[in-house]
Structures are given as C-alpha cells and as structure tokens.
C-alpha cells in the first residue's frame, strides 16, 4: 500500500463512512504545477497525523471567487450552488483548504446560498495540530536559525483577521522570523486578488508583486513563507524578476512543516 493516500469522499461514503474533514484542494492546488506541491505536502501531513480526511477529486469545481470579484455574480452563484449541492449531498460538516480565496468564499459567501460548513484554513489546522502535539519538529530541524519572513495574504489577514495562526506555525521551525515593514493588518497585497491574477495589471509604474518582493528581500530573509497559491505565484515571479531564485525560496506553510518533518 502506498505510504500516502488521498481518499475520495465518494469512496468513503460508498463504504458507509464519513470523513472527519474534507480537504478542499482548489483549482490552483489541483492544476498549477507549483501549487500542486503544496497540496501534496499538506496531504502528507494529514496522512502523517492520521486525520480521517477525504477529497472531492473530479467532483470539485472552482468556488467562483474570481468570477464574483470580477463582477460576474451569475457565474459565481452557478459555481457556488453546484458546489453546495455536492457538499450537502455528502453531508460535509467541516472543510479545510490551503487556499485563502476558497476559504473566504466557502466560509463567508456560501452560507447565503445554503452552504453552511465549519471552514478552516490549513494554517489554522496546522496550528491546532501543533498545539495538540500531533505535529512535532525534531530539535535542530532543517530550518533552525534560518531567516524566514511571512507574507500575510489579504484573504486570510484583513479579510478574515487571521494573523497569528500562521506565525505560530512558523515558530515551531525554530527559525528566525523577521517581519516586513508592512505586515499583519497593513500587509501589502501580492497583486493577485480581485481576479487580477487572470488579467494583465492596469497601467502603472510598477507591478505590485515586485514591490512586495523587494520589501521581502529587504528583511534579509532567505525564505518567504506564504499561505496562498496565488501569493506563491506572484512572489515567486517577483523573486525571479529580481534574479534571486537561487538564494531566496518561497514556500507554503505546509511545505515548510512537511520538509521539517522529512515527509
């Protein structure tokens, strides 16, 4: 049997079982090469701690977030309602996702359309697992003493006021956490939100992701920690733009925890 598995909800339900928590992978986590590594890292952690989770596989669709923020409410509600039909059909109660956009949409915008679930972002679940002692990092892990700076995503931070959970997760790495000048509630956007990811930026003097990357580089950190697949793309592009991709790495929280645990 494979070391790591990602069971499908449909298979669990066919066996008469229910998952403790549904892992909502999201489109980026499913299709984007870089974000797939985040999905894999998080699934490894879920396997490692022995949580009874499941994924929707082919039954998952875009939450509708980019459509809604671009102003296409019809398309958003179409996506939302078909997803809610699937989720309610499986009687899903609790959802975890590694994407703050999916997190925000399912948590805050699905209830008005009949989708009521307990929704957590993977930063919150990871923090909880650390608090419960289910995730432990060996003394002197691979990140010990390294300089890490954490980038607040807008949809976890300002949109949902989650600032501490991701920082608590990073603390277990025994690394040196350095804050950017603009952090927490004044954190600077990566430039991808509001469906900007799916169009060219409007005319301006500079790209937002370059501005943010410069700020991250100023901290002297060698690792930029992200919690969002879109921030991941924007910041990785920013690091490439500055030709620093050999020295500076952008990692998701789940990847850092998985790496530190040698998963």
């Amino acid at each position: 049997m494979a070391k790591y598995t990602a069971p499908l909800v449909s298979e669990l339900v066919a066996k008469g079982e229910n998952p403790e928590i549904l892992f909502w992978v999201g489109c980026a986590g499913s299709f984007d090469e870089r974000a797939k590594a985040i999905t894999v890292a998080f699934v490894k952690i879920l396997n490692h701690v022995g949580i009874k989770f499941a994924v929707l596989g082919h039954e998952e669709s875009c939450t509708g977030d980019p459509a809604k923020r671009a102003g296409n409410e019809f398309l958003f509600q179409m996506m939302a309602m078909s997803n809610i039909q699937v989720l309610n059909g499986y009687q899903i109660k609790k959802i975890v996702t590694a994407c703050p956009h999916c997190f925000n949409t399912i948590k805050n915008e699905y209830p008005a359309l009949g989708g009521n679930y307990e929704v957590v972002h993977h930063a919150q679940l990871l923090q909880q697992l650390i608090d419960e002692g289910r995730i432990k990092i060996k003394e002197g892990g691979s990140f010990k003493g390294k300089k890490i700076t954490y980038h607040d995503s807008c949809y976890l931070g300002r949109a949902n006021q989650i600032y501490e959970a991701p920082r608590k997760v990073l603390e277990v790495l025994d690394a040196q956490l350095v804050e950017m000048k603009r952090c927490r509630s004044t954190g600077l956007c990566c430039g991808a939100g509001g469906a900007q990811m799916f169009k060219e930026p409007e005319k301006g003097k500079k790209d937002i992701n370059v501005e943010r990357t410069e700020e991250a580089l100023q901290t002297g950190a060698t690792i930029i920690a992200a919690n969002c697949p879109f921030c991941m793309t924007m910041l990785s592009d920013g690091v490439k733009n500055k030709e620093k991709e050999t020295e500076i790495k952008v990692y998701d929280l789940a990847e850092l925890i998985a790496l530190a645990n040698e998963l």
Binding site: A2, A6, V25, C27, S30, F31, K36, A37, V43, K44, V55, G57, H58, E60, C62, P66, A67, K68, R69, A70, G71, N72, E73, F74, L75, Q77, M78, M79, M81, Q85, N104, K107, N108, E109, C154, Y155, R158, A159, N160, T186, L188, C189, A192, G193, G194, A195, M197, F198, K199, E200, P201, E202, K203, G204, K205, K206, D207, I208, E211, R212
Partner: protein, 438 residues
C-alpha cells in the same frame, strides 16, 4: 442698545439654525437617493461607535496625528459646552450667566475650555504645517484639486480663529474685571487667558470692551457660520457622521461580498433547484451600479462621512504602484455625483438627467479594474468606510449589464463555466496531483 444686541443675536441665531436644519435634511435626502438596504441592529454596532468613533481606535495607528486630532476632537466636544453659556448670554443680555450657578466649578470649566482651545490652536497649526510646508504625501493626489485643498485649509484656519477669539475675549474680560468695570463681574483668573492678558495691557477700557465684544460676536457668528458651511459643501461632516457611519458599518468579515439575491432565483431555476414561492419575483432592475442611486444609501453615507484624509489611498497597492485607482477618489466622486444629482433633482424634478453617470463621467474603468479587493483601504479608514463595496458594484455593472469585461476575464469566465477552473485545463486532469504523492 443692549436690547438691540439681544434682538440681533436672536435673529442671527434663528436664521443660522434654520439653514442648518435645512441643509441637514438635504444631506439626508441626498444619502437616501441610494437603494434601501436593511441593516440589523446588534451590540457590535454600538461597540464600534464607542471604540472607533468615540474612542478613535483606528486613528492610533499613526500616533502623532492621532494625538493632535484627539486634541481637536476633545476641543470640539468640550469647548462647545461654552456655547450653552454664550447662547443664554446672547438671548438674555446677561454676562457669564453660569458663574453664580456653578461657583468654584465655573473656574474649573473655563480653565478646561481654555486648555483645549490652546491645544486646538497648536494642533491646527501643526496640521497646516503638515499640509502646506512638510507636504505629507497623503494630502496630495489627482483628486486633491484646489477645492478640497482650500476646504481643508479653510477649516483649519477657521478653527484657529475661533479659538483665538475665545481666548482673546477672556483675556480682555480678565483685564476689565481687574479694572473693576461694572458689567464684568469678577469671576477670577483663568490660567491661559490671564497669561495672554499682557498682550492687551495698556489699552483703554473702551478698547478692551470693544475687543471683548468683537471677539464674543466673532466667536458666536463664526461658530454658526462654520456649522452652516460644514453642512453645505465641506468634507468636514465626519464630526457627526463618524458616529452614524461606524454604527451602520458592516460587522461581517471584510472578505465577504454581498450576495445578489436577484440573481439567486435565476440561477436556481437554471440548475433546477426548487425556488420558494416567497422569493422575490419582481424584475431585478439593473445589475450592479452605473449611477450613484444604484448604490445603497450606506455607500452614499460612506461618501459623506469621508474627510479626505487619504489613509486609504496611502495603503492601496494599486495606487502605490502608480495605477489610476485611489479609494479616496472613489469616495469623493460618489459624494460629488450624489450632490450633483440632488441639485439636478431640485431644479428639474425626479426625472432629472444631465447625460452623465457615476461610472464613466466621474469614476473611470481604469480605476475600478485596478482593485485587488485587498481591503487595505477598508482596514485603513478610521471611520469604517468601504470603497471596495462600491468598486465591486461598478464592476458588476460593467460585466453583467454591459458585458464589457477585459478579454482575459472573459476567457477566465468561460474556463470557469466549461472547465470548472479559471484556467484552460481539462476537468479530467483535476485529480492528477494524486500521482505526485509518492
């Protein structure tokens, strides 16, 4: 002579109040041009009023301006208590009518008023220096044309003049008391005004009486005129609307955008989901907002609560990187359009049209398309104004009514609709990541 002064005072006071009430009602009418939204009462709303409006919680992200602003704010609340005495004296021709009633407490009150009057002068001077000499960047921008700049400076200068008049009046009063002038009952010395009194020493008692009376009239007429100005065209309404706006501000997470109920029914029908008969069957009207009255009254209230401080624009990632978007401009344009529309309705009636609209003639497409919905502006606003809510409604009009989304967004829409992901990947590849597990 005394009776004439009382009559003049009464007439000025009543006329000023008449116009003030008229202008307040007009602002209310302008705000209510917006669509109706029901806002449920909750204790969180009162908490916001107390912490954010009364307590100025969000101001303290910038400690220096916060402290100076606190002086002006407390000065406004406290020094205006003196207005009670001034109005009674004005109507009845008395002088310092509250002194016999308050006794030793009177001296404490006036000393407190004088302290805050001086603090207001210092704070407003620093504000003028920050705006005009240091040129703090957030006070400039495309939307900061000469009108808002003059407005801001005028407000500061008037506040300084009113407080100078108040202190000069007391200084002359003090000298007249010492000279034993019959009308000027001895109420004792107040620290700040008595310290200023040497500036007026050596003047004849006629001159002192003239200055004292001039300052008294200047102060009261100035306050009444200022109050009228505030309710006409100025940006200064936040002194009242901050309280109203923090009460009506959203208490839900900032990331939540409102659901369009008019769409829900259509979507349910398309997806064969049973529609409850109670759900609205009326014609949904326009999707999103093109004009100011497509917005909600809360959006327009936001616009009238804006004092153009620029904290939003200073934090806006689009603005910081040179895009056209400035959240402050969104708010200022919304207010200007609402005022223009009100003027039009007053002169031409309800069916007024000037061939203009909020989107297109006031706010351009380039502005609304630059927003990342990051909520930095919402977070930055000391009075809980939400520019993102307006931007998204304007986008909805552009996309749903005009079908004028950028080509790449149309591609994204079609991918979401057909491939269930915003990119052009085959839905059958969605679970391929599982192969990477080992």
């Amino acid at each position: 002579m005394q009776v004439l002064a009382q009559v003049i005072f009464g007439v000025i006071f009543l006329i000023a109040n008449y116009f003030m009430v008229k202008n307040i009602l007009r602002i209310r009418k302008t705000i209510l041009l917006g669509k109706d939204v029901s806002i449920e009462a909750s204790s969180q709303r009162w908490k916001n009023v107390i912490l954010i409006a009364f307590g100025q919680k969000k101001m303290f992200k910038k400690p220096l301006p916060a402290l100076l602003h606190l002086f002006v704010y407390l000065g406004f609340l406290i020094v205006n208590l003196e207005m009670i005495e001034i109005i009674v004296d004005g109507f009845f021709g008395t002088h310092r009518v509250l002194f016999p009633l308050l006794g030793s407490l009177y001296s404490f009150c006036i000393n407190t008023f004088e302290f805050f009057a001086a603090a207001v002068i210092v704070a407003c001077l620093v504000f003028l220096i920050r705006r005009n000499l240091i040129k703090v960047p957030r006070f400039s921008g495309v939307e900061m044309t000469s009108k808002p700049i003059v407005d801001a400076n005028l407000i500061l200068v008037v506040e300084i003049l009113l407080m100078v008049a108040f202190l000069s009046m007391n200084a002359c009063d003090y000298l007249l008391q010492q000279a034993g002038h019959e009308h000027y009952t001895s109420v004792g010395r107040f620290f700040i005004s008595s310290s200023l009194s040497p500036l007026f020493a050596g003047l004849s008692s006629e001159a002192l009486v003239f200055i004292e009376r001039f300052c008294w009239w200047f102060h009261i007429i100035g306050v009444l005129a200022f109050a009228n100005y505030v309710f006409m065209e100025s940006k200064h309404l936040h002194i009242f609307l901050a309280f109203v706006n923090t009460y009506f501000a959203r208490t839900e997470p900032a990331g939540k955008l409102q659901s369009m109920e008019s769409v829900t029914r259509e979507v349910k029908l398309m997806l064969n989901i049973p529609v409850e008969t109670t759900e609205t069957t009326t014609e949904p009207g326009r999707f999103g907002a093109k004009e100011v009255n497509d917005l909600s009254w809360k959006n327009i209230l936001d616009a009238f609560s804006c004092t153009e401080c620029g904290r939003c624009t200073q934090q806006c990632p689009a603005n910081l990187t040179g895009k056209k978007l400035s959240p402050r401009k969104i708010m200022m344009d919304t207010r200007r359009r609402a005022q223009d529309m009100m003027k039009g309705i007053e002169s031409q009636g309800k069916e007024f049209s000037d061939g203009k609209s909020l989107l297109g003639d006031y706010i351009s497409e380039g502005e609304i398309m630059a927003c990342t919905t990051c909520n930095a502006c919402v977070e930055a606003c000391p009075v809980l104004i939400n520019p993102v809510d307006i931007i998204v409604q304007l986008r909805q009009y552009k996309v749903m009514e005009e079908s004028q989304a950028p080509a790449s967004w149309n591609m994204m829409f079609s991918n979401v609709e057909n491939n269930f992901a915003p990119w052009k990947f085959s839905p059958s590849d969605r679970f391929n990541w599982v192969q990477k597990l080992d």
